[in-house]
Subunit: 271 residues, 4 copies
């Protein structure tokens, strides 16, 4: 008796890596502890009697740097988390026991790419541009993609390609393109499970406004329990015109944390 | 036209989480930086004008703690890494540019569980017990499981249940059960892609011997390029008697690191 | 016109280092983040065009590890800090703005050593032994030392020599010798400024009791505003029979922290 | 018999704090791990049966951030450290066993302030301005200060006041004022023990040149074994016109590190 999933695998799949590489010095929000990776021990530092040697690592990092997922505990509104939990009580002994990242189930789900930049024929939308519902629906229609309950929806503005440029990606002065309340409310109404984008804060940031007001974070994380994935690499699936796929996303099971670095994959049958 | 993989998904799958939860204070090897998670900002620390507030995290950790994967750069023998690379030259600017964890492709592969403890009818094999090839083959036969080229092979000694007991899991005085050179060489000959176990160092540790000599690490990482996954949680798939599955394992793409925390999944069709 | 202090210096002084060396793996309380020091860059990793190269460090550590000082914000009793401050309100934006270590003035003060172990003629007092007021006063009398208002009082039990033995220094099973409430109340009544000891928690720990109850911490930090210095190295001044000296102790000015690593010195005129 | 030093103390001293406060977000070189301080446990997170509670800290930081001292192991030239040590061999097991910060003796020494900015009648010298030997000697003469063998010499350009302005202090685009090779060689010839300044890299940085070439570091650290102290706060002693004092500087005794945060003091007799 064959497992249908294994069987599909055996016939060949193509995997797209939707994450940025974690590198010391990569662009990130100054609100979060910087990513650092160092080698406490290198080969040769301590060689065993049999000629063997082990090298190892030390990582220090925020969880909202690089490609990462926001747990529902990340944002509160008027002292409440999703479902009306008291944000103070949700933190016990220095851990978000409620809505922490340990409560996010690993995702193996239908994923869709809404490639607004490609539809608009631009490399990237402009800094600070808010993607309208009209933009969004026109893109879906042109792609022939439908959004279903439970989907993970990835929105490409094209800004992600600036990741390699460093501070430009953070977009303090220029702003960053993305969706705003209009598309956020509409997506929430579709009952999606999670949403991601190729920018640092998922949603539209106005030039010079910083991360002070993030209405889509409130709508998704606090009002509807929809997870947010940030700083994704959507260039490759865009180039391949892959708009529907199996999305694999497995957050680290860190007890009580508000987010986790992730390396999401888009998988499609065929090689 | 439906994607075959998505189609299999749509018909329902069951997912087993093969990772331990990352918790401050969990048992780990003293050779690696301790896992710590702290909240720099909690809700209420800084409330924005609109009543919103964000909490965040700081993580400090080794990469060889909790459930994790060893990159080939982790171990050298006589100054060489896998494929004969010079272990000194492989490290450039403080990063293992060769054989670092960033070179491990995300795995969506056939996985098999070799449940030696279940076959032997014990909760756990004894500390320091080396699983023989006879044990191993008898287990495979009893299970009706075959090992194929490219598989990820998970070996359950039962010792993993001690993870919740803290230092007992580390097994300094008692030793830890696991495979030795005999089974290691045999597995390498089968052409497997990676192997995992429910113990701290994957292989058999003799009582009081510590991590000083790890011959299977040499055989797998240095001689055959086979990845090693440690401190897995194999209790649930053991109880469910799931011996063949789709193994999903996605290391973080940390440039130049020797390992990564992971949260591997076993996925089977049917709910 | 000569500065009197500089003048005294010029005539020669002897300096005793009262701190333990910070080393990866040194004994420390498991309640606090472990001390780690790693080199992100070593010489040769990145050589500049002119042949120059810089090596650097990354430190991760708790502040209550190694030789360190406790700020008043470290301990609360019934929700109050020293002076009746509300322990919740004292923490603003994730920093102890009240009674944090940044509020401790650098100390250049009269210091006295109360060498109980030497007076008793033992290498170390026994684990769990509580130094009585009688012990304490007998030691002072034998030494001919008096305690004055504003002094920094260092109490030697001899246990500090176990620092090099690792876990034995922590003393979980054996307990650790030190003063208890009796001597604590008496010292507080003398109006001392700070007190230190050569053990991990300054005061007497009963065998197996851990750090659960620390009454002298309450008396000193919460009730009297007296700073506590832990894990000091008092071996050298003991051997030199230096019982009165200029104590130099300069905490790092870390805004909002509850403690700081320190390297206190005892300085005496003459070489 | 009174200790002359204690006696001088008793008659009263004034202490000037020459360090900047360690704060999350303070300006620092991007070459070094960022300073972070977080509270793993706050009061109330875990209250003991007797109503007591302890808060604690986690620090992650480079050692060349905030006010700090450079050990001789920090810089090499053509593969050599001070005294001709091989820079590779000086690092054993991931620690600079030679010339690490643990080899710096605590300093209680004659200190002098060379207040070039005050002499020139400016708030701060311009970014990129190199203090000439003529400037330097004119300042010494106007102050009536002489430099002696073994002194710690602090040079004030006035740039330090920009510490509170954040990135302006780092001075990437503007450059930073300071001494260059001319004054560096002259100071080395006087046989000074250490030198400090109120800027991020001690010496003159040309606009846009970054930290790529640091000739005074080579002269002091590699050729003459003179320690360097950076990012000092010299505003207060400048305002008080204190040009000669007892300099107290106690690096943390971190085995094998290339630097240490410090909080140097200038102490003078009289209140």
């Amino acid at each position: 008796m064959t497992d249908q999933l294994l069987d599909a695998l055996t016939r060949g799949v193509t995997t797209y890596d939707l994450a940025r590489q974690f590198r010391v010095g990569m662009p990130q929000s100054p609100n979060h502890p910087q990513f650092w990776h160092v080698l406490p021990r290198r080969h040769g530092d301590m060689v065993r009697s049999d000629g063997g040697s082990a090298a190892n690592d030390m990582i220090t990092t925020g969880t909202h740097v690089g490609t990462h997922i926001d747990a529902l505990a990340h944002v509160s509104q008027d002292g409440k988390l999703y479902g009306g939990s008291d944000a103070g009580d949700a933190c016990l002994g220095g851990k978000y026991v409620e809505h922490g990242v340990h409560t996010i189930e690993p995702m193996i789900r239908r994923g869709v790419l809404v490639d607004v930049a490609a539809h608009r024929g631009v490399t990237t939308l402009d800094g600070g541009y808010e993607i309208t519902l009209e933009d969004f629906r026109a893109t879906l229609e042109a792609q022939g993609t439908e959004i279903r309950r439970g989907d993970v929806v990835l929105i490409r503005s094209g800004w992600g390609a600036r990741f390699e440029e460093g501070q430009a990606f953070v977009g303090g002065a220029t702003g960053v393109p993305g969706i705003g309340e209009e598309v956020g409310e509409w997506l929430a109404a579709q009952g999606i499970h999670a949403a991601g984008a190729d920018s640092i804060a998922f949603e539209c940031l106005r030039p010079g406004a910083g991360h002070g007001l993030l209405p889509v974070h409130r709508i998704f994380l606090v009002e509807h329990g929809i997870y947010i994935i940030e700083a994704m690499n959507l260039e490759e699936i865009s180039a391949a015109r892959v708009h529907e796929f199996t999305l694999v996303l497995v957050p680290l099971n860190i007890f009580g944390a508000t987010g986790s670095p992730v390396r999401p994959l888009a998988v499609v049958s065929g090689e």
